[in-house]
């Protein structure tokens, strides 16, 4: 067991088939997955946001750097935000070299996660198809494939016949409106059980001494020495966090929120290049499994996978209108269904069971904002748009390194906030507008 239990000198009860049988025989309950503790008055670091990014950051702070006096605070429950609302797709087939290197590391961490964290996150390496319906889209697929190959990532462009073999439900005929001309095939892509990732990181971090505080809402970030009011803003430094459960003093605050990233950063006097948009998703009733891979169409703004429970999970592009309301819309499901049937006309009798949405923080270049800010001790891991879940492990690892060393790790240097001052944006915009 890597890391878990090393710090507290106690080990969590191990998850295994044998343990299941043993407890089943004795009728024992499992102990709490993470402790319920009092909120202390002081921590070495406070991570805001109990989603996959925040929990991974806390986990790697403890595991890789021995920093365990850490609180993860969340205004609701762990995994209540985007972590539990995304469609759980993972992949590394990005367009830019910096994007590919980054997500490739994330995929590696996902692949070893079940054993690292001793929880089955059900990493399903089922392959990922990004369909191209136009020459221009096909050109972008080729571009991504070439960049991927140079980075050692398994991606290639395949034609309709091969696509049909992988996913027979797709209409690869000479379709009148959106013909499938080809696809970027990325075998290492797949899906992961998102909730298990949340719980796994929380459980592992807990056993190393990190504290998880649910229903703990950050009301303000306490700063001194900054240019702005109350000592906030550039030139200042973080001294603490005000929560609904009282003030905490800390020299380091890491903003790992999605949806509220701008509001939290504003509490430290840091303005971000972010607008918040809902991202909607939907799921059908279960039917027997027929779709063995993840299918994405950028032109049709849709991505589709089938869970092991038989439900089809659908996602789309973010809503056009900036919004903090996550009630969902009818037009989303209408457009989604139209596009899904364009790709798979045979499933018109499947029924949509539930729709939901989460909040995404969109940046101008479809790339995140990570690392240090003009306020000392205030770090951000935000602006994740629609691809935060896939990046969680590597983000946690890199953010932990930034906190521990005080230096920006090479892998996240391209994503610094300062790029918006210098105008040197990241080039994922073209490929990632619906890049799931």
């Amino acid at each position: 067991m890597t890391g878990i239990g090393r710090r507290l000198g106690r080990r969590p009860p191990k998850y295994s088939a044998a343990a299941l049988v043993w407890r089943g025989m004795r009728g024992d309950y499992w102990p709490r997955i993470w402790r319920d503790t009092e909120l202390k008055r002081s921590y070495d670091a406070v991570v805001i946001g109990g989603g996959v990014h925040g929990l991974a950051t806390a986990y790697y702070l403890a595991r890789n750097h021995g920093i365990t006096n850490v609180a993860v605070v969340d205004k609701a429950y762990l995994g209540s935000g985007a972590s539990g609302r995304n469609t759980a797709i993972v992949r590394a087939n990005y367009l830019t070299p910096e994007g590919v290197a980054f997500y490739d590391r994330s995929l590696q961490l996902y692949n070893s996660m079940a054993l690292d964290l001793n929880i089955n996150v059900m990493m399903s390496e089922r392959g990922h198809l990004t369909l191209a319906h136009t020459d221009a889209a096909l050109r972008t697929m080729n571009w991504r494939a070439e960049v991927n190959k140079l980075q050692g990532v398994n991606s290639s462009v395949i034609g309709p016949d091969e696509i049909k073999k992988i996913a027979p439900a797709l209409d690869t005929s000479d379709h009148p409106r959106y013909p499938i001309l080809g696809a970027l095939h990325h075998p290492p892509g797949g899906v992961v059980r998102h909730d298990a990732v949340v719980w796994g990181y929380a459980r592992a971090a807990d056993y190393m001494g990190v504290e998880m505080h649910q229903k703990t809402e950050v009301l303000d970030i306490l700063c001194e020495g900054g240019d702005g009011p109350d000592g906030k803003g550039p030139g200042g430094k973080v001294v603490g966090v005000r929560t609904n459960r009282g003030d905490i003093s800390t020299p380091v605050v890491v903003n790992c929120t999605a949806g509220w990233a701008g509001l939290i950063s504003a509490m430290a006097g840091v303005r971000l290049p972010i607008t918040t948009h809902p991202l909607q998703a939907a799921v059908t009733e279960p039917v027997k499994v027929f779709l063995p891979t993840v299918v994405v169409s950028g032109s049709l703004h849709v991505y589709i996978s089938q869970t092991d429970r038989g439900e089809l999970v659908f996602g789309a592009a973010v809503d056009a209108v900036a919004n903090y309301s996550i009630r969902g819309s009818l037009e989303f499901t209408e457009e989604l269904a139209g596009h899904v049937l364009e790709l798979m006309p045979g499933i018109s009798r499947m029924r949509l069971l539930r729709q939901w949405s989460g909040l995404c923080d969109m940046t101008p270049d479809y790339s995140p904002v990570m690392g240090f800010t003009p306020v000392d001790g205030f770090l951000v891991d935000v602006g994740w748009g629609t691809y935060g879940f896939k990046a969680a492990p590597v983000s946690g690892e890199q953010m932990a390194e930034a906190v521990a060393t005080g230096r920006t790790p090479k892998l996240i240097a391209p994503f610094a906030l300062s790029r918006f001052d210098s105008g040197e944006l990241v080039g994922e915009k073209g490929a990632a507008s619906v890049g799931h």
Partner: protein, 90 residues
């Protein structure tokens, strides 16, 4: 489907309009520093509450206009008067 109060057409389905994002004044290009200009290009207030923003009534009167919307509740207020030449923009 949100109803957007177009000052010319009357309430319209949001699908009939294009969303234009936060309404900010364009800095004077002759004097703007890189920081000011890029702040205009990229930085956003993004409040969870009242926000002044631009809309274009694409399927209707084809007029750009600015009004305030509460991004938490989707209520609108302060649309410009019909025929306002700048559409109420900042």
């Amino acid at each position: 489907m949100l109803l957007v109060p177009c000052p010319n057409c009357g309430p319209r389905n949001s699908a009939d309009l294009r969303y234009g994002g936060e309404s900010h004044a364009r800095p004077d290009p002759a004097t703007a520093t890189p920081q000011q200009w890029r702040g205009y290009l990229y930085l956003r207030d993004n409040p969870a509450g009242w926000l002044r923003e631009n809309w274009y009534c694409r399927s209707g009167c084809r007029r750009w206009f600015a009004l305030e919307r509460n991004t938490a509740t989707n209520e609108f207020r302060n649309p410009p008067a019909p025929g306002d030449k700048r559409g109420g923009k900042a």
